[in-house]
């Protein structure tokens, strides 16, 4: 199996879906000639031409609104927002139309589009380029919100998102774009949207996370085991909404101790919903208060301080120790 970076894996997904389905259209700012500012769409313009890979004018609402029209016509647009911090320019199109057209038309029309955007910290970027605001989309009925955590699942989830009959917001943790390579099969691989995954088993503690936070969490879990013998079970959400609570609820019932790790600001963040589900479904099994290790409720700092803002393996490890000691 070829070893691919996440950028290459996403590119593979797009390339193969475009090859097999002429309804798939890629559009966005600089996605054509330039191959996207992170090169996720590299080569697609050469392979499929400007009829299928559209370099658009610089206008996010235009891109999303046009994608909605294309999707209504029966195409499968995959639009790129250059950074997740610029989806807000198109928020009304997402909330007002993409998320509602199926309901509004009572199923006569639907919007099978994917909105891809690099998100999250870790690449020493400028302001507006590092935020994690997946909660906005997760709280929007009618949207799905997917975040992969590695090259292989990025590819398989993007394929699923493109084939999904409903609009999917697909956030790509840009810290992982080139962080490492993984075996990614050339053959088709699809992961279902709406399913979380247990990526490490353990009986002492449950850690729920997703995206770029998975790696520091796994590192911390390994150290924890080495240092104290305690085994953390790690669950990767992969889909934020619709939230699959089955695995983390089952795990919490076994371990009684839960930590949630995400980059997003803490208050009203995704972690809160996970806590609420656990309280609703595993209350009597909880031995300790659920702990959130998250970004802070401040504007994402300029990059010299991003490592202070972002949760890391040390913070996770220290928190895990406290949680287990309690």
């Amino acid at each position: 199996m070829p070893k691919l970076t996440m950028v290459q894996a996403l590119n593979l997904a797009l390339n193969q879906e475009m090859a097999s389905d002429d309804r798939v259209i890629v559009l966005g700012e600089d996605v054509g000639m330039d191959g996207g500012v992170f090169r996720v769409t590299d080569g697609l313009y050469a392979a499929y031409g400007r009829q299928r890979v559209l370099d658009t004018p610089l206008a996010e609402s235009g891109i999303v609104g046009m994608s909605i029209g294309m999707a209504i016509y029966g195409l499968r647009p995959v639009c790129e927002m250059q950074f997740s911090g610029f989806v807000y320019q198109a928020f009304h199109q997402l909330e007002g139309h993409a998320a509602r057209m199926r309901w509004r038309s009572q199923g006569r029309y639907h919007v099978p589009m994917v909105l891809r955007a690099p998100y999250g910290g870790g690449v020493r970027a400028l302001e507006h380029h590092s935020e994690s605001r997946e909660a906005y989309y997760a709280h929007t009925p009618g949207l799905k919100m997917v975040i992969p955590s590695g090259p292989r699942n990025a590819r398989a989830l993007l394929v699923a998102a493109i084939r999904d009959p409903d609009p999917v917001v697909f956030f790509e943790p840009k810290a992982l774009y080139r962080a490492y390579r993984e075996d990614v099969p050339q053959e088709e691989e699809v992961l279902p949207i709406g399913k979380s995954q247990t990526v490490r088993e353990g009986g002492d503690l449950t850690i729920v996370t997703y995206g770029a936070m998975l790696r520091p969490v796994l590192a911390a879990a390994t150290t924890l085991q080495e240092q104290s013998g305690a085994a953390a079970e790690v669950i990767d959400l992969q889909t934020i909404a619709p939230l699959d609570d089955s695995l983390f609820v089952a795990s919490a019932r076994r371990t009684g101790r839960v930590m949630i790790v995400h980059e997003a600001p803490r208050s009203f963040g995704p972690g809160a919903e996970i806590v609420a589900r656990l309280v609703e479904k595993a209350f009597y099994h909880l031995e300790e208060p659920i702990v959130r290790v998250t970004g802070y409720d401040v504007v994402f700092p300029l990059f010299a301080r991003e490592n202070s803002y972002l949760p890391n393996a040390d913070r996770v490890l220290r928190t895990a120790r406290r949680l287990i000691a309690a």
């Binding site: 999303v64 029209g69 016509y73 199109q93 619709p242």
Partner: protein, 368 residues
């Protein structure tokens, strides 16, 4: 070299064919077939009478808020009459007459303004999008649809409606620009009815016309007397031909007037004068078309009366059907329908809880 005037490639024209008094410019008359003329006349009358009936229903509390179309029949129907059945219409929210022309039933309209999402399931599968309320936002969908049609090699145009107020939204700008850049076969039909709720056209923008905004996009633009159904037809037909020929989009500004309130929640006396409304009443699109049709001997007094009668009966039948449906439409558990292609696990649970609540409420009711 120094300060030289830049010559514009395009210019903006104004078009009138049938004037306020019913006089027609013979050279410009698009010579529509009599059957089409009569069909348009009937649709205009139906639009007007339906508004009046909806207003009654609203005032009696039998339906909720709705936006009347009266005064704008020519702008709407002259435009959609150009479309082929496979062409797309992308409305805002004040295009009831045009929607009905495209196949939406009066019953669906009443049901929707009665507050039932199920109304949409009465609508034909044809290429007409549902009403879009966020001002200006729908225009981009027409661009995507038009682009997709060209991509598919299908000879279809997309006609999208919006108001004078909508031209201030960023989405208007993005839609016009995208359509021009991608040469999408789109007709942007602005119903400039002079008001956006309480804001007059002159406070909406300082450009003397809306049509000239086309110059900002290197796109064709034209201003027409929007109460002149022949001019609207001619301008939209020209735009549709251009679009089909690969010539890209056109902005058509129809100067018209909103004769009634913005919606039934609005009181126009707070911001505009009765004289102004009176002035526009003299430019009524139906009156002048009626004169024209009578002069062409396509209409007689008797025929006018007969059409009026038929239209009222059609409306009555729709009201009866809709009200019957509203009484029996059944279980509110339908609020969970069409959220996604498939119910999510959370929604399944919420739906069950909802039904349990309903059962409990019913039980309590019968216990009490």
């Amino acid at each position: 070299m120094p300060r030289r005037r830049i010559e514009l490639n395009d210019h903006i024209a104004h078009l009138t064919i049938l004037d306020e008094k019913g006089a027609v410019d013979k050279k410009l008359d698009p010579h529509l077939p009599p059957a089409l003329l009569l069909k348009l006349y009937r649709a205009m009358v139906r639009g007007r009478r339906f508004d009046e009936r909806l207003l009654d229903l609203q005032r009696q509390g039998r339906i909720g808020t709705f936006p009347p179309t009266s005064g704008q029949e020519a702008a709407q129907l002259g435009a959609v009459a150009v479309l082929q059945p496979e062409d797309w219409m992308v409305p805002a929210f004040r295009e009831t007459a045009a929607e009905v022309w495209r196949g939406r039933s009066l019953e669906s309209v009443i049901l929707a303004y009665g507050g039932f999402s199920e109304a949409a399931s009465l609508d034909p599968p044809g290429p007409t999008l549902p009403v879009s309320i966020p001002v200006g936002s729908q225009m981009l969908h027409a661009v995507g649809i038009g682009w997709a049609a060209r991509y598919r090699g299908e000879d279809r145009v997309a006609l999208t409606f919006f108001g004078d107020g909508a031209t201030s939204e960023g989405d208007f700008h993005e839609a016009m620009n995208f359509a021009a850049v991608f040469r999408a076969p789109v007709i942007f039909l602005c119903q400039n009815n002079q008001w956006a709720i309480s804001i007059p056209r002159t406070q909406q923008t300082r450009s003397p016309t809306i049509a000239q905004k086309a110059l900002a996009y290197g796109m064709a633009g034209i201003q027409v007397d929007g109460n002149d159904i022949l001019a609207v037809y001619a301008a939209v037909a020209e735009a549709a031909d251009r679009a089909r020929a690969g010539g890209g989009p056109t902005l058509v500004e129809c100067e018209t007037y909103r004769m009634m309130m913005h919606t039934t929640a609005d009181d126009p006396k707070r911001y505009r004068s009765e004289e102004e409304v009176e002035g526009w009443r003299r430019k009524d699109p139906i009156t002048r078309f009626e004169i024209y049709l009578q002069r062409r001997r396509l209409l007689t007094k008797a025929k006018i009366a007969a059409i009026a009668q038929e239209v009222l009966e059609e409306i009555q039948a729709a009201v009866d059907a809709a009200e019957a449906k509203m009484r029996t439409i059944g279980d509110p558990v339908t609020i969970f329908d069409h959220a996604y292609a498939e119910l999510t696990p959370a929604l399944r649970a919420q739906r069950e809880a909802f039904q349990a609540e309903q059962a409990a409420a019913t039980k309590e009711g019968s216990d009490a």
